[in-house]
């Protein structure tokens, strides 16, 4: 049987898709159904249990604060005021509600209201664009900048800003850490030259990175009135998160199997070929492990950095809701918490899939 040899282009595109397709197309087999149902059942059960405990906990906290309020009214202002307070709390009026851990139903309601709010803002935006279309066309024709919508950002916009910031930061980390990692991995003398640098800057806290970036970017943007919060936050996120990739890349490159290096020598590959055909492919699994850690660190530090940088993302949203102290603020914070958690989980899953695609079993290959 004669088979054509496939080189890279044709062969790889299929191999690249395989694990992805396997994930997307579920295989239904009767034997699998029962265990997977059982597994799903246990997950659902544990979620229900969690919600139940949360509900009871928030109820207990609510009652404690309500009782305290009534007691206080009683001791300070007498029976009449206490009765009024009790009636007020029972009526659900927002002026006298205890402000504590919100219950699951309150959080769900907040999520609904945030989505409704998003729809209202979207409609506003569309109306604004329509209204300004004629004016903007004239402005552009005159060579001036068009007027854009500068109203409140909706929750969805906020989430998108955060994701954008994380990806920009991740890309920055990738562009800095991978090339530097490869270079210091290849040269032991450069490795020792960079070692103190890595050891000192790796443990620096996100807040300090933010301040450092702020000092520099502020001066670079001096005299420029445009909003640089996004730039500051994504650079800080990138600098915070890049260390895992840097260290892993350097380690992967410096610990390539000696057999592969011998092959490269016997085949007499040039330096460029040796790096791109032997060293990089063999260290890809470690590089991707580093990138996966980098992405999760980026998402984790993002909240603190957005808060400091006043960038319109989830971090600022959480902080503003906390400062706001409105009736449903606490519920909104919990909504943001879940959104952050779920997005972090999804990002990690994406990276895990990519990582599995590029890795090969090292021991079996030799």
């Amino acid at each position: 049987m004669e088979q054509e040899i496939t080189l890279k282009k044709e062969g790889k595109s299929m191999a690249f898709l395989k694990p992805l397709l396997a994930k997307v197309t579920p295989k239904f087999q009767k034997a699998d159904l029962l265990p997977s149902l059982k597994k799903a059942g246990i997950t659902v059960l544990s979620i229900l249990l969690f919600l139940g405990l949360w509900h009871l906990g928030s109820k207990a906290l609510y009652n404690k604060e309500a009782n305290f309020k009534i007691e206080k009214a009683l001791t300070e202002q007498g029976q009449v005021a206490a009765d009024a307070e009790r009636a007020c709390i029972a009526s659900g009026d927002s002026s006298c509600q205890p402000n504590t851990l919100p219950s699951p139903t309150q959080v769900w309601a907040s999520l609904q209201s945030l989505i409704a709010d998003h729809k209202v803002i979207n409609a506003d935006k569309a109306a604004f664009v329509e209204k300004m279309a004629a004016t903007n066309a004239k402005l552009v024709a005159k060579g001036k900048t068009a007027i854009v919508y500068t109203g409140r950002a909706s929750f969805v916009d906020i989430v998108l800003t955060s994701i954008k910031t994380v990806f920009a930061g991740f890309l920055l980390a990738l562009l800095i850490a991978v090339p530097i990692g490869v270079i210091i991995g290849l040269s032991p003398s450069l490795r020792s030259a960079f070692n103190w640098f890595i050891q000192i800057f790796k443990p620096v806290s996100p807040v300090v990175w933010y301040l450092l970036v702020f000092m520099i970017v502020k001066t670079l943007y001096i005299g420029d009135s445009s909003d640089n919060a996004f730039v500051i936050s994504f650079i800080s996120v990138g600098l915070c998160a890049m260390w895992a990739t840097l260290v892993n890349t350097a380690m992967g490159v410096s610990s390539v199997d000696k057999d592969y290096i011998n092959v490269a020598k016997v085949l007499k590959l040039g330096t460029f070929q040796k790096v791109f055909k032997v060293i990089l492919p063999s260290s890809l699994p470690l590089i991707f492990t580093g990138l996966r850690i980098t992405l999760s660190v980026a998402w984790m530090v993002l909240i603190a950095i957005e808060l400091l940088a006043q960038s319109q993302g989830l971090g600022l949203f959480v902080w503003e809701e906390f400062q706001n102290g409105a009736n449903d603020s606490n519920a909104k914070i919990i909504v943001a918490m879940f959104v952050i958690g779920i997005i972090g989980f999804l990002l990690d899953q994406i990276m895990l899939t990519v990582q599995n695609m590029v890795s090969f079993n090292k021991n079996e290959g030799v």
Binding site: M1, E2, Q3, E4, I5, T6, L7, K8, G11, D259, Y260, N262, V263, K265, V266, L267, K268, L269, K277, V278, P281, S282, L284, F360, N361, K362, E364, G365, V366
Partner: protein, 279 residues
Amino acid sequence: MAYLELNNIYKTYGEGENATEVLSDINLSIEEGEFVAIVGFTGSGKTTLVNLINGLIKPTSGEVLFKGEPVVDTSHERGVIFQNYSLLPWLTVGQNVYMAVKEAFPKENKAFLKQRVNDYVAMVSLSPAINKRPKELSGGMRQRVAVARALAMNPEMIIMDEPLGALDALTRGNLQDEILNIWSQDKRTALLITNDVDEGIYMADRIIPLKPGPNATLGPEFKIDIERPRDKTALNDNANFKKTRNAIIEYLMDIGEERKSVSNETYELPDLAPKSFVA
């Protein structure tokens, strides 16, 4: 002048007090078209010797001459088949061979290179597996890929470092025949490093035992005067084969004994007597 010459080779690892001399006073000369086997115990410095000849490491003193020129670096003229196959796991069989062919024939066009890859993969009868990755292959198949990769570069000399060491007896026998087959087609110079005396006698023109290290050195050579092609089953009854085999094994055993007798540790035996069940 010999094709490959090793003159007074010494190789030391480490420095100062920790230095161990792995190879000492190695002298070897191989003629063009000859098939030479070096037989030795594991850990006797065989791989070090191979790496010296193919140019991966340099001797501490002495010189390696290939066609009269000193060996300073690896060269496409000397193809190497490694002990542990050393295939790149992220490339398919075809890509592994292609990489070598492309380096060996940088001026040829893609069609020629592809054809050469196909030919050599077919030669080791792996055409159906050309698009598989090494981890999908068995040990014997992997070693065949390594053979194809080394030969596709069209080397003038093949150096094999225990190429069949990790294989089972059956696959071993088949691959020995395959390698001999390929070798007999154009009679390239070949150097086989092995720990199997039978394999050496079956394949080589000349066998040289390597005395175990440290301070490993080559022993007296044994010529194998058996007509080619050799028949493995008939070989067992060949008087010449038996004689040579016994001589080599005796020699190797003797050095083994010599090495053992150096140890003058005495063992105290427990005072035990068999119990009598009769009385």
